[in-house]
């Protein structure tokens, strides 16, 4: 780091610049500087004095903090994925909501969970978390729980959200180009204005999803589920490969495995031969539905209305059901209710 770099940082910062990707500030004295929301992706802060510096919501991905003094620094909701913090002094530093992953290098003995940091990994639990205006492009969040999460105006290009739970998530104006949303639950999610070009939404649950103003050119929607409450962009021509979930719907042989169909009304629907393996049908209405030959292996049927349903040769093995008058849920074995 030289004085010119620090001068450049200061001048540009005052002029409103917030992108300092890869800047070299090794050994710099930035104590008490307010650098909230600044993009320092890949920046070098090695041996820098960052005492009580404000990095709130800053992008510090892949940044180097080796032997830096971060005592009392505010790193709340900062992105520290793949950052190197070995030898850094994190005494009294605030790290609540800061993002990290398996490649973040912490000082010896530091426990990110105890600091209330958020792990961004496959299967991560991020329900109701505030992740708006973040650059999470390319991240692998397979099967992550993001229900109710705030992802408005986020950079999610190429993000892997396969089988993720995005129930009621707010994702308006996000860049979801080439995102992998296969079998993701987008039920009741708000995606208004999102860019979904090239995204893979095969088998995604779009029941009640708001897709108004979304860009859906070259979006793969094969086998995606939607209902009358799903709001598509104006003038959007629905591909025939989508499954319309409604009372009396024809879903013969449809692949709904692992689908989250809680509370869905499929009364009188034709589900003969459908694959509902490990589907979540909690509270769903399947009254008078034709489930003959359907595969309900491991499906959650707690509170499901199956009155009058055709269960001829239906595979209910390991399905979770409750019987009238019974408190504890029972598990069906060998296709027969216990």
């Amino acid at each position: 780091m030289n004085l010119k770099t620090l001068e450049h940082l200061w001048t540009a910062f005052v002029e409103g610049e917030r992108d300092f990707t890869g800047i070299n500030l090794a050994g710099a004295d930035l104590n008490h500087w307010s650098l909230a929301r600044v993009d320092f992706w890949g920046a070098d802060f090695s041996r820098a004095n960052l005492t009580k510096a404000n990095f709130r919501r800053a992008n510090l991905k892949q940044a180097q903090f080796s032997d830096a003094n971060l005592s009392g620094a505010d790193l709340r909701w900062a992105d520290l994925r793949e950052a190197v913090l070995t030898g850094a002094d994190l005494d009294a530093a605030r790290l609540e909501g800061a993002l990290y992953n398996a490649r973040t290098q912490f000082p010896e003995g530091f426990n990110p969970s105890e600091a209330s940091m958020w792990s961004l990994e496959p299967g991560a639990s991020l329900a109701t978390k505030d992740l708006r205006e973040r650059d999470l492009g390319g991240a692998d969040l397979t099967a992550a729980d993001l229900s109710g999460a705030l992802l408005v105006n986020s950079q999610l290009f190429g993000v892997v959200l396969k089988k993720a739970n995005l129930l009621s998530a707010l994702m308006g104006d996000s860049d979801l180009r080439y995102a992998d949303l296969r079998q993701a639950t987008l039920m009741l999610a708000d995606l208004r204005g999102a860019d979904l070009r090239g995204a893979d939404l095969r088998g995604a649950n779009l029941i009640g999803t708001n897709l108004r103003g979304c860009q859906l050119a070259a979006t793969n929607l094969e086998g995606a589920l939607y209902s009358d409450s799903t709001q598509f962009p104006r003038g959007f021509q629905l591909p025939k490969t989508l499954h319309h979930l409604a009372p009396g719907a024809s879903l013969w042989g449809a692949d709904l495995s692992g689908a989250r169909l809680t509370g869905v009304d499929l009364s009188g629907a034709n589900l003969a031969g459908a694959n509902l393996m490990h589907a979540d049908l909690w509270g769903a209405c399947l009254a008078n539905a034709d489930l003959s030959g359907a595969n309900l292996l491991g499906a959650n049927l707690l509170g499901t209305d199956l009155s009058g349903a055709n269960l001829n040769q239906t595979n209910l093995m390991q399905a979770i059901i409750d019987l009238p008058g019974e408190r504890a849920p029972m598990v069906a074995l060998n296709g027969q209710t216990a």
Partner: protein, 254 residues
């Protein structure tokens, strides 16, 4: 104060003028001038002797002093002129340097001669992509880097920056899984896989990122579309699992 004209021009001129006058009139004022002049080598001793004449013949002294005054004034004016021209040259050099530094500060701290502009060339050991791969054209970074450093908006003509035929749609996309078991989007170029790295909003930022990554020894390519520039980094190891991105169904949007 350090850069004031008085300090840079007037003061040196006054000092030079005073020094000149003192040197010219010193022989008249000093009794030891004769002794000193005898010790001086030729032609300095002869010049000093001639200057001592006014000391012995006072009728010459007034003319000589007038000559000394005029000479010292001329020395002062000459010095001022020299200092002024030097300062002008210095200012021009400084402004040029500032321009260079300003341009350089927009870029990573890299010596451009150290940058390998060569387009990434795939290794033979990389796993070949599926046969469905479409022909691809890698980004010509040399032309891009030689271009203007000023920001080019994404909606401007990408051909201005040498970004020809690098649309993302021209590349075969895959989902790859590396040694860390994590999946990510990747594209294949001539047998090598390039992992998604970052999307940048304009060509200048994409250029800076590419320079930084190249300096770290990484092989990088970029694609462009109407929204942004996407930077991709070559996988050093063959991925454990490769799944082609599904053929996309183009849904019509009104």
């Amino acid at each position: 104060m350090d850069n004031s004209p008085f300090r840079r021009i007037v003061l040196p001129a006054l000092l030079a003028s005073s020094a000149g006058f003192a040197a010219l009139t010193w022989p008249m004022a000093s009794d030891q001038a004769v002794q000193v002049s005898e010790r001086l080598p030729e032609p300095f001793s002869r010049w000093a002797d001639s200057a001592l004449i006014p000391h012995q013949h006072k009728e010459f002294s007034i003319r000589y002093i007038g000559f000394a005054i005029l000479s010292s004034v001329a020395i002062g004016i000459g010095t001022a002129e020299v200092m002024r021209s030097q300062q002008g040259r210095s200012q021009r050099r400084q402004s040029l340097l500032n321009e260079v530094l300003e341009a350089a500060s927009d870029r990573p701290l890299v010596d451009p001669t150290d940058i390998d502009y060569a387009v990434a060339t795939p290794g033979a050991e990389a796993a070949p992509p599926a046969e469905t791969e479409r022909p691809t054209v890698a980004l010509d970074w040399s032309s891009l880097l030689q271009g203007t450093a000023k920001t080019s908006p994404p909606d401007s003509d990408p051909t201005d920056a040498g970004l020809l035929s690098t649309a993302l749609e021209d590349h075969a996309l895959y989902h790859i899984q590396g040694a860390n078991q994590q999946q990510c989007l990747a594209l294949a170029v001539e047998g090598a896989y390039y992992r998604y790295y970052r999307s940048r909003p304009d060509v200048d930022k994409a250029q800076k990122l590419v320079q930084q990554l190249q300096q770290q020894g990484k092989q990088v390519i970029a694609t462009v579309d109407d929204n942004s520039y996407v930077v991709w980094v070559r996988e050093s190891e063959s991925p454990q699992q490769v799944v082609p991105w599904p053929r996309l169904t183009i849904a019509q949007q009104g």
